[in-house]
């Protein structure tokens, strides 16, 4: 851990104690790294949809690990089995750990039973990004959508997760909404559980 001198070496990563996760690095370090992720992936694709898909896949891998890590550390090895439970786990615990704050809002879609939205006025990954006009609706939030999908899927709640810009009146920058559409089986199971 930081500041305790030479770190002890472990033969196996699983023997290593799980840190408390309070270590910090500079925001620039993340911003530089993330911008390289975007630029690298841009070289691997022909269109925006594919770029978003690749970013989402990258996020998915992060989400899968975050779920495991946080269930061990914050929840005494238990994971949520109910829809609202897992959503608020993402909105509060996951967001707090990854982005330092809980998400601005968590809402249920008004038109569809299976849709939920997490909104953030200034999503960390979008803070330093301006999307060129010719790239249309491209949203780096796809990475965060991927994280959310990674957490949900691995907790047993398969869903389609997408990121969208939503303009706010009187504000120059739009907010980012992460739209979660659960698979049918999830909704059925939830109804059965009552």
């Amino acid at each position: 851990m930081i500041g305790v001198g030479k770190a002890k070496q472990y033969a196996n990563v699983l023997d290593k104690p799980l840190g408390r996760g309070r270590q910090e690095v500079s925001l620039s370090a993340f911003a530089f790294l993330f911008s390289e992720v975007v630029q690298y992936n841009q070289t691997q694709v022909d269109n925006i949809a594919e770029l978003e898909r690749r970013l989402e896949d990258a996020g998915y891998a992060v989400g899968a690990r975050v779920l495991e890590l946080l269930c061990h550390r914050e929840k005494g090895n238990r994971r949520e089995t109910r829809l609202l439970g897992i959503l608020s786990f993402i909105h509060s615990t996951v967001w707090k750990v990854l982005f330092g704050k809980v998400a601005d809002s968590l809402e249920k879609g008004t038109e569809h039973e299976d849709e939920y939205m997490i909104s953030e006025k200034e999503l960390l990954v979008n803070r330093f990004i301006s999307v060129p006009k010719d790239m249309g609706a491209f949203n780096c939030g796809a990475f965060v959508a991927g994280i959310v999908r990674g957490v949900l899927d691995n907790a047993g709640f398969p869903a389609v997760v997408t990121a969208h810009f939503v303009p706010i009146e009187g504000q120059q920058r739009p907010r980012t909404t992460i739209l979660i559409k659960f698979a049918e089986e999830v909704i059925h199971r939830e109804a059965r559980l009552g």
Binding site: V13, G21, E24, S26, A29, L33, F34, G100
Partner: protein, 192 residues
Amino acid sequence: MATSQKAARLGEEVWKTRVDKVNAELVTLTYGTIVSQLCADYDNDYAQVNQQLDKMGYNIGMRLIEDFLAKSNTGRCGNFRDTAEMISKVGFKIFLNITPTVTNWTADNKQFSLLFDENPLADFVELPDDGRAQDELWFSNIFCGILRGALEMVQMSIEARFVSDVLRGNDVTEMRVTLIRYIEDEMPPDDE
């Protein structure tokens, strides 16, 4: 050594007062994703993955140096030894909150090692057990590119490469940095 202490104080102060911070795990996991994405894209050709990581680092280094100079508000280093202290005690400190040890200088003062006791990029990491990654992949190779890119922007041509890594089962994680030459300011050809 005086420079070393001065650098340590500067790094500490900038880290405490002038740096916005994020959770290290976000960076750890994001970096891990990049490496595994590259391994998939290059069909586990680890030599190519190392090279791509170095290239990404180089791109970052070229932009990062500006952030570094603006935040640390520091001048030109008098010699390569000072440069090494600045890299470890200010550079690594203000970006990653670590200070790798500077050691193993050669007699001509052109080559040193950075020893990483801690490495936020490598938390939770276990190299693939495919009989090759342990010998071929330098997981944190992005650091080499970052140093090369950043120093090139301040007129130093260097070479950086890892020589050992605890992830490979070595005792230490060590990067070797070699000064190739100082780049002369190139004036535009006579246009009077």
